[in-house]
């Protein structure tokens, strides 16, 4: 019945249908990753300004203690994921490969690692402004991938009235199942979070958008929704990139966010389901954002798993917990296979945006030989933002940055649907990405 209804679900146009590869982990219950000896917490793992360290080398820290304060309004806090001692503050490997300022913490092996909270926070009676400052203190960021500090979304402009709160449970990236597991295992926590945000915003309706390939999540949430609340679960077609915020708003509400405007300008706020659960957890236990859900999967992993991992755990330890990498592993990605970042060194830590650790073998990493573009138009029919990727790639290759700007390169969200669909093996999104970063660099210097 679900399969048939897939055909008739309203959705965004274009997009692609990659194989999902979620079976490896979709049914595996979440496990907690044990504490390890060493944690690395980069100060800049969110959008905006880096956090400022509030501890010094040698200092003892408790689990959940603030170790870095927000560096600006668009910035957030950082807490120790473990009780131990600050070993150093200095340059450490970031997942992307470069070195970044980070706090290194040595765990106290004999500590109980119990979270000690002075008092449980209460959301009832908070104004939206209070909520914003409370959120900045929790260190929660958008967990869908962009890592925008969550409080930024809720500091609304004057006169904006939110009608729809959307919980994004699409999880359209192949392999990843961490949001799926959260929705199956903790529907009450998600609904508690929605209740908090819905009430604080005074929203009219709250919608949980879930792709149809997670029927167990759809049923379990459907059963838990209180009948007197204006909450509903909206099953969505399985299509990439369904989890892109503008695409999901198009699918759910049939609203196309005009270029240059934010969803909030149209009375819509969207958060990832895991973000909402993190908010609920904070108000339940007072726990700031120190653990995250990570899907460890892919053909190079011995024992795939859905894990709760303390932030800062080195990727090497996570892999070791999952039985290590298979010998034929060629590449490890942090995040999903479509938009994730390749990991240059296994010393890099789990950060707030690490939704997955995926190991791939030569079968996935082998690049087809690039042949000339034959203008087949498959990328044009794949691009969810209705751009002309073949043209963008051509301009990026020729480094014609003025023309590429005119061709609306700024609208590209780098979802990778174009590269996926190109039969000529042209790395379209990679070319666009490098042109964009080169243009950013130029602007910075000017």
């Amino acid at each position: 019945m679900l399969a048939l209804s897939t055909l008739f679900k309203r959705s965004f146009s274009h997009g692609i249908h990659p194989d999902e590869y979620k079976d490896q982990t979709a049914a595996l219950p979440t496990q907690r990753m044990p504490f390890v000896e060493r944690y690395i917490l980069p100060l800049h793992q969110h959008l905006g300004a880096p956090s400022k360290p509030s501890v010094e080398a040698g200092q003892q820290v408790r689990r959940g203690q603030l170790i870095a304060a927000p560096g600006a309004f668009v910035s957030t806090s950082l807490h120790s994921p473990v009780s131990g001692r600050v070993k150093a503050i200095g340059q450490r490997r970031f997942p992307g490969g470069r070195y970044e300022q980070a706090i290194e913490i040595e765990a106290d092996l004999y500590a109980t690692q119990r979270l000690e909270v002075d008092r449980r926070p209460d959301w009832r009676g908070l104004s939206l402004d209070d909520f914003v400052s409370v959120m900045q203190g929790t260190g929660i960021v958008g967990l869908g991938g962009a890592s925008l500090p969550v409080h930024v979304k809720y500091s609304l402009r004057e006169g904006v009235k939110i009608k729809h709160l959307i919980a994004n449970g699409a999880e359209c990236e192949p392999y990843l199942t961490n949001d799926h597991r959260v929705m199956v295992e903790r529907p009450e926590a998600l609904l508690r979070g929605i209740e908090i945000l819905h009430t604080l915003l005074g929203a009219e309706e709250s919608i949980i958008g879930i792709e149809l390939n997670k029927p167990d999540a759809i049923t379990s949430l459907g059963e838990h929704i209180p009948s007197d609340r204006p909450f509903r679960v909206a099953p969505l077609r399985v299509k990439y990139p369904q989890g892109d915020s503008k695409m999901m708003i198009k699918s759910l509400l049939d609203i196309e966010i005009p270029k240059g405007l934010h969803a909030a300008d149209l009375g819509i706020i969207m958060n990832n389901v895991s973000t909402i659960v993190a908010i609920a957890d904070y108000f339940d236990t007072g726990m700031p954002y120190i653990d995250r859900m990570v899907t460890v999967s892919g053909p190079g992993i011995e024992y795939p798993a859905n894990l709760i991992v303390p932030l800062g755990t080195p990727v090497r330890e996570v892999l070791r917990f999952c039985g290590g990498l298979k010998a034929e592993t060629k590449e490890v990605l942090m995040g999903g296979p479509m938009m994730g970042t390749p990991i240059a060194s296994l010393d890099a830590p789990i950060i707030k945006s690490s939704s997955g650790i995926l190991a791939f073998t030569a079968q996935q990493t082998a690049r087809p030989k690039e042949v000339p573009c034959i203008r087949c138009g498959r990328c044009v029919e794949a691009c969810p933002y209705f751009l002309n990727p073949s043209k963008l790639a051509r301009l990026a290759k020729a480094r014609q940055f003025d023309k590429i700007k005119q061709a609306n390169v700024a609208e590209c969200v780098e979802c990778g649907s174009c590269t996926y669909s190109c039969p000529s093996g042209i790395p379209i999104v990679q070319l666009i990405r490098s042109a964009k970063s080169e243009m950013r660099g130029k602007r910075g210097k000017a």
Binding site: P258, K259, L333, L346, I374, C376, S390, E411, P423
Partner: protein, 335 residues
Amino acid sequence: MQYKDPRLLVQPSPLLKQQMTTHQTMRDLLFALLPVTFAGIWLFGFSALLVVVVSILGAVATEWLFSPAEQRSARLVDGSGVLTGLLLGLTLPPALPLWMAFLGGVVSVGIGKLIWGGLGQNLFNPALVGRAFLLATFPNAMTTWSTQVSGEGFFQWYPSNFALPFMQPHYDAVSTATPLGLMKFEQQSTALLDLVLGNTAGCIGETSGLLLLAGGIFLVLRRDIDWRIPAGVLLSAAIFSGVLYAIDTGHYPDPLFTLFSGGLLLAAFYMATDPVTSPLTPRGAWIFAVGIGLLVVLIRIFGGFPEGVMYAILLMNAATPLIDRYTQPRVFGKE
């Protein structure tokens, strides 16, 4: 535990890729054309095989000669030279002198593709460039149609095939007219069944309507070609000729005749769909296809030639950059 890090690639995402490749598409096209080619050889005898093979040779030899040494083998296996040669061969009359077929192959790849910068750069369909060149240069040889042998006399060939270069080919009395020629100059119709099965005079690969249709549907189902183009070409040709037929049934051919006569099916499925020379966007593809259908009907009925498919496609090829410019997709969230 001894634990050694593997050497990791740092290759940016996305790592997933759909299976279809450009080479596979070319191979599919060749497969789809095989039945048509065999039918042409059966219908027109050994000569047809010679013409097709020689035109492929001309195309491939040119490709090989003008490719940089290190890319030669790669370009030969990418199949686009073979495909161009085969498409050209299928649009030639079976009694064509072989040296002309060879020259056609050379012009197709040389003038049709390579001087533009190779695969993906050319404005006009290479096979049709070669054919247009032959038609303009050797109008007689290109419009001399032989009667069919249909398996009998398979090994008898036309003496004209072996005419020496630049000598007047000798034709014997077996030449006849194509259904379109009969229609245009003698107001004589051909039975639909003959058109569908290919029992008519014409180019080697254009007569067997059913096989062309079957191969085309295979390509559409494999998503090797954009379905909008054959659909648009055939629909618009049928509708425009249908309108004329409705006005004067005695004077104009009926739509089914239009669809199954001449090279329309071959062109709609295998030539107009060449992605390089057709518009990029779905909307552009419709405009392009409808334009071809309209031009085919106009040229066939009001023009001086009995057949207009080749010029229709070449004209719309020329319009493709313009169509592309005006059918750029509307960016999401922009009015």
